[in-house]
C-alpha cells in the first residue's frame, strides 16, 4: 500500500464519505450515469467509423456533434470517481476488478489517443467516403470492446469488495 494512498484514505472528507450511508451510493449513481454518457457517445462514434450507422454524415461532423458531450461525461466520471476511490482506497487498491478496470481505462485512453494522432489525421481523405481505412475500423472495434469490458469490470468491483 503506497503511503500516498494511505494519506488519501485518511483525509477527513474521505473518511466522512466512507462512513456516510446515503452520499456514497448517490455519488456512485452519478458515476454510473457519467459512464453511460461516455459509452453512449463513444459507441455512436465507433459505429460511424465502422460504417454501421450515420453513413450519410461525414465522420468529422458526427465527431463535432458528439465528442464535446463525451468530454463532459469524462469530467463527471473523474469528479465522482476520485472521491469514490479516496473513500475506499485501501480496499480498492487490492481489488482485482478495480485494477482491471483502471488498466482497461488506460488502454481505452491509449486507443483513443492513437486513433486521434495516427488515423484521424487523414480523416479528410475518408470523411464521407464508404471506404474507411481498416486501421480506423480496428481502433473503433477496440474501443467498443474496451468500454464494454470497463462496464463489466466496474460491476465486478462490488463482487471482489472486502468489507
Amino acid at each position: 500500500m503506497p503511503p500516498s494512498l494511505e494519506w488519501l484514505y485518511e483525509l477527513p472528507w474521505a473518511a466522512a464519505l466512507r462512513e456516510s450511508d446515503d452520499v456514497y451510493p448517490f455519488i456512485e449513481t452519478l458515476h454510473v450515469l457519467s459512464i453511460t454518457i461516455i459509452v453512449g457517445t463513444v459507441v455512436a462514434m465507433d459505429l460511424r467509423v465502422l460504417g454501421v450507422i450515420l453513413k450519410q454524415e461525414p465522420v468529422t461532423r458526427v465527431g463535432r456533434a458528439l465528442l464535446p458531450t463525451t468530454w463532459y461525461g469524462f469530467l463527471i466520471m473523474f469528479l465522482t470517481g476520485v472521491p469514490l476511490f479516496a473513500a475506499q482506497a485501501l480496499q480498492l487498491y487490492s481489488n482485482p476488478a478495480f485494477r482491471l478496470k483502471i488498466l482497461l481505462l488506460a488502454l481505452a485512453g491509449i486507443n483513443a489517443g492513437l486513433f486521434h494522432f495516427i488515423v484521424y489525421r487523414t480523416v479528410r481523405d475518408w470523411d464521407d467516403s464508404p471506404a474507411i481505412p481498416l486501421s480506423a475500423k480496428v481502433f473503433a472495434a477496440n474501443s467498443l470492446f474496451l468500454w464494454s469490458a470497463i462496464i463489466v469490470s466496474g460491476r465486478l468491483i462490488a463482487v471482489f469488495h472486502a468489507h
Binding site: 451510493p25 448517490f26 456512485e28 449513481t29 454510473v32 450515469l33 459512464i35 453511460t36 454518457i37 461516455i38 459509452v39 453512449g40 457517445t41 459507441v43 455512436a44 459505429l47 450507422i53 450515420l54 450519410q56 454524415e57 461532423r61 458526427v62 463535432r64 456533434a65 458528439l66 458531450t69 468500454w147 464494454s148 462496464i151 463489466v152 466496474g154 460491476r155 465486478l156 463482487v159
Partner: protein, 145 residues
C-alpha cells in the same frame, strides 16, 4: 393480497427462477448485461436530449433514425436481464418501494422518450433527461431497501 402471493409463489417455483436465484454468478452476470444495456439506451437518450436542446448538425431527426437500432439493442438487453433478475426474486422486488418507483418512473420515461422522438421540444427533452436520471437513482436505491 392472497392472489398476489399465489402468483409470486408460482413465479418463484418456476425452473428459470430457481436456476437464476441459486446460481453463484447468474445475477451478477445479468446485472453486468443490464448496465451494458443501460449505457446504450441511456447514452442514446442523452444524445437525443442534448440534440433537441442545442440544435446540432447532424440534426435530431437524423440521430433519432440512425441511433434507433442502438437504443433498441440497449432496450432489449435491459428488459431481458431486468426481467430475469426480477423473476428470480419476485417477493423481494414486488415489495420493494424503490422498485415500484423505478417501474412507474420507467413508464413515464418511455412515454416521454416516444413523444420526444415524434415531436421534439426543449422542455420535453429536459423532462425526459430528468426522468431517466430518476430511474437510475431509484434503481440504485433498490439495493438499500
Amino acid at each position: 393480497m392472497p392472489t398476489d402471493t399465489a402468483v409470486l409463489t408460482w413465479i418463484e417455483q418456476t425452473a428459470i427462477s430457481s436456476a437464476v436465484r441459486q446460481s453463484d454468478w447468474a445475477v451478477m452476470a445479468l446485472e453486468a448485461v443490464h448496465l451494458l444495456g443501460l449505457s446504450l439506451l441511456g447514452g442514446t437518450a442523452v444524445i437525443l436530449a442534448l440534440c433537441a436542446v442545442r440544435h446540432t448538425v447532424p440534426t435530431l431527426t437524423t440521430f433519432v433514425v440512425e441511433l434507433r437500432p442502438v437504443a433498441r439493442i440497449g432496450f432489449i438487453l435491459m428488459s431481458l436481464s431486468g426481467a430475469l433478475i426480477t423473476w428470480s426474486m419476485p417477493f423481494k422486488y414486488y415489495n420493494n418501494s424503490a422498485f415500484q418507483w423505478k417501474m412507474m418512473l420507467l413508464l413515464c420515461a418511455l412515454i416521454a422518450a416516444y413523444r420526444l422522438v415524434s415531436k421534439p421540444s426543449r422542455i420535453l427533452a429536459l423532462v425526459s433527461l430528468l426522468l431517466w436520471l430518476s430511474v437510475g437513482f431509484s434503481g440504485r436505491l433498490i439495493g438499500f431497501l
